[in-house]
């Protein structure tokens, strides 16, 4: 599903990612851990083609993406659901419209939008918030909206960059359970996190990065270091 082969990304003199090789299969659940500045976000930005690698090859769905044209970037991003620490909801759209936007982007019909959005909002437990604006929601509710938007088009993969970073422990665990449910239904999940307890408790595959290098890749792994 995703494959990095000897990928290096430098920011001027700064190391972003150094000779990284990694393989994520369909249906995997992978935690990406490492100290701040290790290169976790860099790895994600490379998958989304937000930045270009200096060396190496990146495959998404069997396709080498470093040579994609500008026109091929939006379809690539639509095939991946993204969730961020800061939610990234459109502030002037309601919850319903935020999720609808992801469907409008792929030119879904009004009918399909009207049918699917109540379903996904209900799965996320935020049906009653449909007409609220993001600023009127709690942090946990905003992250649920973001996940609903990430999943509405049935992406093959969900990438989450510290999705629980702004949430209290209980809410974080709720969100974690949601993401685990999504993975059990077949969606590949790549999740960056600093939450030691969550990683240890979930017992999933853990990839650790330090100073741009992949230093560990183990199934049933633990967080493995102290912040």
């Amino acid at each position: 599903m995703i494959r990095f082969e000897g990928v290096t990304k430098m920011y001027g003199g700064n190391v972003g990612l150094l000779d990284a090789t990694i393989k994520i299969e369909k249906g995997d659940f992978v935690f990406l851990v490492g100290p701040s500045g290790a290169g976790k976000s860099t790895l994600i930005k490379l998958i989304l083609k937000e930045i270009e690698p200096d060396e190496g090859a990146i495959y998404v769905n069997g396709r080498e993406i470093t040579h994609l044209s500008n026109r091929e970037i939006p379809p690539l991003r639509r095939s991946i659901g993204m969730v961020f620490q800061d939610f990234r909801l459109l502030p002037n759209k309601t919850v319903y419209e935020n999720v609808a936007f992801a469907m409008e982007v792929v030119h879904s019909t009004k009918r399909a939008i009207r049918r699917q959005i109540p379903q996904v909002l209900s799965i996320m437990g935020i049906s009653d918030k449909a007409d609220k604006f993001p600023a009127e929601l709690s942090a946990g509710e905003q992250q649920r909206v973001a996940i609903a938007r990430a999943l509405i088009n049935n992406p093959m993969m969900l990438i989450a960059d510290e999705p629980t970073g702004n949430l209290d422990p209980d809410t974080a665990w709720e969100i974690m359970k949601l993401i685990n449910q999504i993975n059990r239904r077949g969606t590949t999940v790549l999740m960056v996190t600093h939450a030691k307890d969550i990683v240890d408790r979930m017992g999933k595959r853990v990839v650790a990065i330090d100073k741009g290098r992949i230093v560990r890749d183990a199934w049933g792994g633990e967080y493995g270091y102290d912040d």
Binding site: P74, M82, A102
Partner: protein
């Protein structure tokens, strides 16, 4: 295509209302810009009309003919004058016609002229100049014609008028340039603010996988809608201001230049479409400018 257009328009409509602060700021600055451009457009048009009509009054030279110059001779002179590019027209005014004009001008004191035994006025040619600037040249030429007794031309007055109108027109030009610079600064600052407000929104849309056109369409429509609203407000304001100006000044204007302000309705009919188009272009230009930086990445 049509669906895309409908999508862009409805999105724009909703967003203009939701981003009230930003929309109001943009509407305010575009309206201000239009107001500046528009007011000066009105002022210049009126100044030009007034100065042209002032020039009109002084663009004739009276050529008085000798008593012995016959009508045929006058026609020959007329022909030779008409062959010159600097002369727009020549009218023969007989001494009888001249007396009539004279009496008209004297009005109720015309009876004083009744006592005259014979008409003391000469036959004359009224020469109309193509351009006021050639006055001196034609004046000299007329004086040298055979059969001419005297030539009347308001040299000094013409010189004064020319300096005054030149001064007014150059002054208006300088002020317009200054105001255009001011309004460009105002609008580009507003655009900068909108850009910063929109930067994050555009970035999010791109993460969700929106194509550039999908983002551009509604933003462009939004800019044009704001421009259109600004033009509407502007037209309302200018109509009020201009009607008031006409009311206040048209009498004085009549005295000064013997011309009235351009009629309000005429101005409005001509300007509605120009300014709606102008407002929409400014709005669209602002949107494109604000999007360009973030969509190319």
């Amino acid at each position: 295509m049509i669906r895309g257009l409908k999508y862009a328009l409805t999105q724009a409509f909703v967003q203009v209302f939701r981003n009230k602060g930003m929309s109001l700021a943009s509407i305010f600055s575009i309206t201000a810009m239009l107001l500046i451009l528009g007011l000066f457009f009105f002022v210049t048009v009126n100044i030009n009309i007034a100065t042209e009509s002032a020039k009109q009054q002084f663009n004739t030279i009276e050529v008085y003919l000798l008593e012995e110059t016959s009508r045929d001779d006058a026609d020959i002179i007329t022909q030779s004058l008409l062959s010159m590019d600097e002369i727009a027209g020549v009218t023969y005014v007989s001494k009888e016609e001249a007396m009539e004009h004279f009496k008209d001008r004297w009005g109720d004191k015309a009876y004083l002229l009744e006592g005259l035994a014979e008409n003391p006025l000469p036959n004359s040619l009224r020469v109309e100049l193509t351009s006021l600037e050639d006055g001196q040249l034609i004046y000299e030429a007329c004086r040298n014609l055979i059969g001419v007794e005297d030539v009347r031309y308001y040299q000094e007055e013409v010189k004064k008028i020319l300096t005054i109108t030149d001064f007014i027109q150059q002054g208006a030009l300088i002020i317009i340039l200054f105001l255009i610079i001011v309004s460009v600064v105002v609008v580009s600052n507003t655009v900068k603010l909108t850009v910063m407000a929109r930067q994050r929104e555009i970035m999010i849309m791109k993460y969700v996988g929106a194509t550039n056109w999908f983002i551009r369409g509604p933003l462009l429509a939004e800019g044009m809608m704001i421009g259109c609203i600004s033009a509407g407000i502007y037209l309302g304001l200018i109509w009020m201001i201009y009607s008031r100006m006409v009311e206040l000044f048209s009498n004085q204007a009549l005295l000064l230049f013997s011309t009235s302000f351009v009629e309000v309705g005429f101005m409005m009919r001509n300007l509605i479409w120009i300014f709606i188009a102008l407002g929409m272009s400014i709005g669209a230009f602002g949107s494109i400018l604000s999007m360009r930086r973030f969509l190319n990445a």
